[in-house]
Symmetry: C3
Subunit: 418 residues, 3 copies
């Protein structure tokens, strides 16, 4: 089975679970992820103060429907998007005229069901296709939302791949959206495979699976000291649609992750976007107090496709090929990030004599020097403490791997120091 | 009466007065301006040292003509451009061959009378159309310039609109050109209306009506301490022709006024020019010792139209619509400048929870956030002490007013400090 | 005789000498140059440690050939490129099959003889046209290389034109290539004429004629204190082919020499290249420990033409016109470099009154100011200690000579200080 098919299967399996910012849907999701990765699951009680926020009550739901004449016109069991997330319980009969105030549709996309929530204001509601609403005759409807909103906890999980240093790279995915496939079970699936691919990395890699906004805020609030160790990070979302890749820069715009992603994406159709404080959890990681070097990788970006936050974002909207392509870019980025160093040339006056160290061809006069020799000259010339290997590869227009290999050879020859 | 018509009437009224760098023409001009604005008029005696310069003798003129056979061939009373400014008195009869050395024409624009001066070297001369000169037969001419050049004073005026702070914005117009409409009675007319439009501004606005070069130098010389308070400024000239707007940057190139003008002009056809030490009194305000954040707003720029410094620059060359458009841009610029601040986010770790403060919609999932909400997120994210509201509006591609309103709301909620 | 013809004659005269990084070919070359310039010739003994390198044994060669049936199939006396530089002596008879391992050809350019060396690994070889090789039947060949490799010395020379200050400009040419005309007898010829053209310069100009790489390294090693005085420099190479000029920036990219060359080249077809650590001796001068402001001027750049490092680079490949054009650019560059200063305006508050100093036309109102007056205003406005005259000329879009003349006039009037 290809990696792409495997990731797509994971998306399909996670898709039906009714996630929200708290509750059993998140726990079940993390249990499935836990079959692939060693997870530490955290439960943070309702009422806990996290930065400027407070962990809300936990929401769980068993069933919901709008019924007329004994027939479920709108049925949570068919699609969990039908209920506004965090709806308070309701059990009532009311005329359509009254019910309308609780119904959300997309008049311009009449066959799609929207995704709506009301986390922080007590309310209830249903989401349905405009075409369904149009077919509903006036009259009384039975309305049931069998939910609970009660003290409990917020759930998130971490998977850590220890590195040779305790400086960290974080990869963060939101796990709060119910039946939306690209947003964000696709991101979760790519993160899982990325985590599995890491072997003895330089940095410590921390994968965070947490509900959007409040989850990231909770992680940040509970990890104030660890945040100091975070060097780079990536928010993974919308990782599986058919569009090309989009990288959204960190707030800094010139963080190392920004340079790495731009370097890696150069060979593919892609778009680079400047940071904006709207989107996924990069909003929190890049808030001005933290200002972490965290960018966001998506395919079609946040709110950029018609199916976004609708029932159109189902597993068929995601393809194995796209998931695999996103994963490949993540792996390339990790390969660069993890090997990127800043060296100092220990023989900076004139070129060192590479030939007597066996690092340079003894036959002179040829003008077609190989990448490996050019890479050594570039590394020596630019290793002044200001340029990292990535900057050298960019400047020299050489593959990063050639530059990294040259640095390794020069380091082994005692010509460079870390 | 529209603002444009009112300004155009003022241009027409001021046009015939024979202004120069000193003398009664300037006083009469300021008296008319004084009907609209509360002016402080300053008289600076001949001989006063002002920076590297000395206030010259005062020049006044009653009449001048070149007469043949009792007929005035060239007549100051018809057009005051006919006399070279600061001409010493003369009363003589001389053959055309001798007179030619004192005559100035524009051979390439044979029907226009040029504008010429000789402020700092004693001389006399007449300006006339080449076609007039071509029609003058050889022979003797009576030449009269009934002028006086004597100790007196240089005159300039100020109008001040007090602000909530004593930091100043200066708006400067030259008032030394005789019958030239666009250059610069148009600038004067726009300045008058701009001054009248200011209501309880943040900055103190100082309008300076002074002769070019020596007037600005005199003001600078007599206000060395006030200059320290000048934060921003604009030289207004050529404000009424049919061309589109041109903003000439301050010497600094990135002063706040430069950013404001570029932001405001973005929505209109316009041109941005780099600073050059040639043009109007920005030359003095932007001399390297002062280096003030003073730019220059014109329509067609300095020396950029064929009628420039000729009799073609008459009131018909100026239109009410253009005057009104220039004024509108000035008012927009003032609105941005006056509300532009640098705030610091007091809750910089993660996003503050705007919802519980009533600043954010409680319904989640929608992707079409309103400008007001985006503006708040941008202000919070970039209010780190480095970005002012203008920088935030530019970065966010939002209207300045939306960003300023967001900042007001966040400030009122205690989330920002000045 | 034109300068171009003279330089071309010098190229023709130097072309046949069999130069290498050491040996009598270099000495004979310097002797010819010494007929034009007063040279100091240095001999540095074999074994001398120079930076990371060691001066190698000296190589000399009298004859070499591949002979079959008494006929020289490949003959050093016809073209010295036929022998791999630094070949150890050999005298043997061997079948073609064995000889092939010592033969170098250019299969894609079958009629050209390549240039090859083996300075630092003991080896021997011949270079020949592929077409020659193709015509060689199997069988035994007599192989003779009558060379010596023995303790001796490395030879380089300097010519110094003393300046009014002891800060230096270096002009460096490699003199190690045997019969290659453009690379680099053309550079030598241009350097000779450039040196002869200097008259009482501001800077001290040092012309360095040294073998590539090891020669520059030797000069740097023996002049560690002088290097501190080097302000600017130019490596001259490939100075005579028919291509347009190419300037390769110093490692710094914004050194004064980079700005000067770009300014001077603006009026000609040309190319500017970023620094790369591959090419001529700029590699050494711009190694990160020295990081000198040294760029490289060529026509078609390093390795950029098919005749590069082949027998096609003969005196016909070089033209008098191209040599003259390269020389002209060098002289213009020297004129700018040598007069470029940073002044401070002593009257920085407002414009000084130029009129009373006789520096400004007394007739006002004209809009067509002359370059000379504009240049004075620009120099006054930008002479704040940050801008040199070149920066002013660039910003003002005025000829450097006009700006320099304005600065001279203002300096004479006491308005500027150095």
């Amino acid at each position: 089975m290809s990696l792409g098919t495997g990731m797509h299967d994971l998306v399909r399996r996670l898709y039906p679970l009714c996630r929200s910012i708290t509750g059993d849907g998140v726990r079940e999701t993390l249990a499935v992820v836990g079959e692939h990765l060693d997870l530490t699951v955290h439960e943070v009680p309702t009422g806990t103060q996290v930065l400027d926020w407070t962990v809300p009550q936990e929401w769980n739901i068993r069933d919901a429907h709008i019924t007329r004449d004994g027939r479920r016109v709108v049925d949570f069991r068919e699609l969990n998007l039908h209920v506004v997330g965090y709806s308070v319980p309701v059990r009532a009969t009311m005329p359509l005229s009254e019910l309308r105030g609780h119904l959300h549709t997309l008049p311009d996309q009449p066959d799609l069901v929207p995704y709506r929530t009301s986390y922080y204001a007590p309310a209830w509601g249903f989401c349905l296709a405009q075409s369904t609403l149009d077919a509903m005759p006036d009259g009384d409807y039975e309305v049931v939302i069998d939910s609970t909103l009660a003290d409990g906890s917020l759930t998130y999980a971490e998977h850590v791949v220890p590195g040779r240093v305790d400086e960290e790279v974080i990869v963060s995915c939101h796990v709060c959206h119910p039946s939306l496939a690209n947003d964000n079970m696709a991101g979760v699936a790519v993160a899982v495979e990325l985590a599995k691919s890491l072997r003895n990395p330089h940095y410590t890699y921390r994968f965070i699976f947490a509900p959007g906004t409040i989850g990231a805020i909770t992680w940040l609030a509970r990890n104030r000291e660890r945040v100091e160790k975070v060097r780079h990070g990536l928010v993974l979302a919308c990782a599986g649609d058919r569009g090309s890749l989009t990288y959204k820069q960190s707030r800094r715009g010139d963080a190392e992750i920004d340079r790495v992603m731009e370097f890696v994406l150069r060979a593919r159709p892609h778009e680079i976007r400047e940071f904006s404080p709207y989107g996924y959890d990069e909003r929190q990681y890049c808030s001005p107090g933290f200002d972490l070097g965290v960018g966001s990788l998506t395919r079609t970006p946040y709110a950029g496709y018609p199916e976004y936050h609708t029932s159109g974002d189902n597993p068929d909207f995601v393809t194995p090929e796209s998931l695999e392509d996103t994963l490949a870019v993540c792996r390339e980025a990790v390969a660069v990030l993890d090997h990127n160093r800043r060296y100092v040339n220990l023989s900076p006056y004139g070129e060192p004599q590479l030939g007597r160290r066996g690092l340079y061809s003894s036959l002179g006069g040829r003008s077609d020097a190989k990448d490996a020799q050019l890479a050594m000259l570039w590394v020596l010339n630019l290793s002044d403490g200001d340029h990292d290997l990535l900057a050298i590869a960019e400047r020299a227009r050489l593959p990063f791997a050639a530059v990294a290999a040259a640095a390794d050879a020069l380091h082994a020859a005692g010509l460079l120091k870390d």
